[in-house]
Amino acid sequence: MAAAIKYDDVRVGDELPRLVIGPLTRQDIVQYAGAAWDFSPLHYDQPFVEAAGLPNVVVMGMLTAGMASRCVTDYAGAGQVRRYKVRFMARIYPGDIITCGGRITGKLEENGEPMVDGELTVTNQKGEVALSGSFRAVVGLARPGC
């Protein structure tokens, strides 16, 4: 995993460690449903999704967002994220393989804490953008947790 990041070493444009996860499974969906108490029928009920015109149950956007957050925490350390915002652009289904990546877009100090801003993207195996996001994280205070 990533080494400690020091604020002075950060350059705007630096890339986050890239993560490839999958193929995702129905078990992944069920496991997240239990962990987060996300029981929308969209995520487990095959007759429901077919009636809605979808080919399969859908991976929760927040599961994708959770997996993608590891890009940021691998970079800045666990517990260092101060803002995390995601927009869901395309559905992810069982069998899909996602790639999470991002880059640093700015450096700033807020209340004496050195921080970075960044953007985040998740694509599926066809290169379609499934999630687009942004974040702010503290760097260089605690040692990153990995």
Partner: protein, 154 residues
Amino acid sequence: MVDRSFIGLRSRTFSMPIEWGKVREFARAIKDPNPAYLDPDFARRVHGGIPIPPTFLMTSMAWEIPEWESGKVVQLDYGNGVHGEQEFELLKPIFVGDVLSWTERIADIHEKAGARGGMMKFAIIEGNYFNQRGDQVAISRSVLIEFPPRTQAQ
């Protein structure tokens, strides 16, 4: 069907303990092997406590349902609607052992013209979280989107 009359609706105050078992379960569900979540000794040594993953406050739903479910509160048509955006502002560190209290409210509902005609409806739900010392530690914003009703032409 989402409409503006729901703006301002507010839940009662909910409360939940931040527990290591739940943090560990959530970290495994999002496939994050970071020892900060999985190894308490490591976490205390390196982080001064067991931190939470950035999206962990999604687990607060377990303490709200069935009393409050934002999509149902705004009468979202689940077959024709989505959770479109999510934001967490994590204002102060949250660790295992903290006890959070929060309320949810329907902060806004508005319409925009959809790309394929018809009006898309957006409901913004905001949660404000405080810890056991009364410090505000987080703000959650969810955007639920309902698409225009399907027509035979589509």
